[in-house]
Every structure is written in structure tokens, then in C-alpha cells.
């Protein structure tokens, strides 16, 4: 497709306290049908969206965190997580889900989707986008 645009979904909110995180995920999945160059960024409280072992049985809300692992099937291969945001919250990559995609250019090898980036790197990634959608 000649008019492919670079879309970045920016996630800055923790899950469950507000509807932003779930809405973002739904928009990403809908947008995936349009075959654009999609990437996701998780910064500030948005890094809490990706923690593993989420269990919402006690709060009566749907646990939507397993859906992040489906992003690879929707051809979402770039998930940027901001290093400083993790550190400020006492987290490391080990506290997050392990998200992967299958690389069709490399015999469908399974590769990591999450890319740990510095705040400065993320600022430059934002600057390269055609469209930024914020949540």
C-alpha cells in the first residue's frame, strides 16, 4: 500500500482506574485492520498496563491484559516501553508480560515485541510519526 502512514498509540494511564487503557487497546485492534505502520508506546503510568499476573476477579471488571499478547497476530511488532517510567515505578522488564510476534521476513521466527527505550529515544520516535493517538 503506497499511502501507509506511521501511527503511534501513546499509553500513559494505569488500567482499571479509568477506561483509557481498555479503549486504547480496542482502537489499536480496530485500527490494525487498516494495514498501517502501527506502534505502541507505554510511558508514565501506562507501563502498569503491561504487568503480568493481573487478576481482576476481586473487582468485577474484565481482565483485558491477555489481549496484549494477541497484538503480534495483528501485525503489531513495535511496542516501546520507556525505561525511565519503569524505573520511577520500581519495575523492570521482568515485571511485564513477554510479548512476541512472528517475523514473516525471517522464516516466522518468534521475536520480542517490547523494545525498552529511553525518554530521549521515545521523544524522537514520536517525532517520526504521521499520526499520534493519545490515551
Amino acid at each position: 500500500m503506497s499511502d501507509t502512514k506511521k501511527f503511534l498509540y501513546v499509553n500513559r494511564k494505569a488500567p482499571y482506574g479509568t477506561i483509557y487503557a481498555l479503549e486504547s487497546l480496542e482502537v489499536v485492534l480496530i485500527g490494525a485492520a487498516f494495514e498501517q505502520d502501527v506502534s505502541l508506546a507505554f510511558l508514565d503510568d501506562g507501563v502498569y498496563e503491561l504487568t503480568k499476573d493481573q487478576d481482576t476477579t476481586g473487582i468485577g471488571m474484565k481482565n483485558f491484559s491477555p489481549t496484549y499478547s494477541a497484538l503480534g497476530d495483528y501485525d503489531v511488532q513495535k511496542i516501546y516501553v520507556e525505561k525511565e517510567s519503569l524505573e520511577e515505578r520500581g519495575l523492570t522488564l521482568d515485571d511485564l508480560q513477554h510479548l512476541t510476534y512472528e517475523d514473516e521476513d525471517d522464516d516466522w521466527a518468534e521475536k520480542d515485541s517490547i523494545r525498552l527505550v529511553s525518554r530521549e529515544e521515545l521523544a524522537r520516535i514520536m517525532d517520526e510519526q504521521d499520526v499520534i493517538l493519545s490515551f
Binding site: 500513559r12 510511558l43 525518554r119 517525532d127 490515551f135
Partner: protein, 102 residues
């Protein structure tokens, strides 16, 4: 590739403004709207950070949102430009993209 960043939260309740200022590249424009306008007021605990950012960013505040909240133009930090809705549109069209900090 300049970006227009908009901020619509008070710097005293949320970290939205700080996060915007930490990610806006030099030469970018920042427009304070809605409750974000409190970040444009001088003499606050946030004013120092905003003045520092003015050295490499263009900062604007939406006049109607200032007036609505009883804030006067003479309270706005020197160097921050006050725009109306038409000015908001101009900023959106002059830049390559708009990034909303919520």
C-alpha cells in the same frame, strides 16, 4: 518535523505538563488549553519549569480558557503567547502533527 503538543490538565493535579515538556523536542510548540492554562500562570510552583522550557520551546495559552477561569492576561508568564481559537487552528496547520497530552 515540528509537533504541536497540547496539554489540558492542571500541573498541580497531574504530571501531564511535565511529561510533555520532557518529550517535546527543541523547536516544538506547546499549547496550554482547558485546565492546562494554570501552567501558564506566573508565581506558581510550576512556573520555574515552564520558564526553563521557554528557552527552547514556543509556548502558547488559549485565551478563552484563561478568561473562563478568571485568570488575567497580566498573570501569564512573560514569553508565553496568548492565542484565540483561530490561533489554535493556525498552530495545528503549521505543524506536522498534533500530540495531545491527556
Amino acid at each position: 518535523m515540528p509537533t504541536l503538543h497540547t496539554v489540558n490538565k492542571s500541573p498541580f493535579e497531574r504530571t501531564t505538563l511535565d511529561s510533555c515538556l520532557a518529550h517535546a523536542l527543541p523547536g516544538s510548540a506547546v499549547l496550554l488549553i482547558e485546565d492546562g492554562i494554570y501552567g501558564a500562570i506566573d508565581g506558581t510552583s510550576a512556573a520555574g519549569r515552564v520558564k526553563e522550557a521557554l528557552s527552547n520551546l514556543s509556548i502558547y495559552v488559549l485565551g478563552p480558557d484563561l478568561k473562563a477561569r478568571g485568570m488575567r492576561e497580566d498573570q501569564v508568564i512573560d514569553g508565553i503567547r496568548i492565542v484565540d481559537y483561530a490561533g489554535f487552528v493556525d498552530l495545528a496547520t503549521e505543524n506536522d502533527r498534533v500530540q495531545s497530552w491527556l
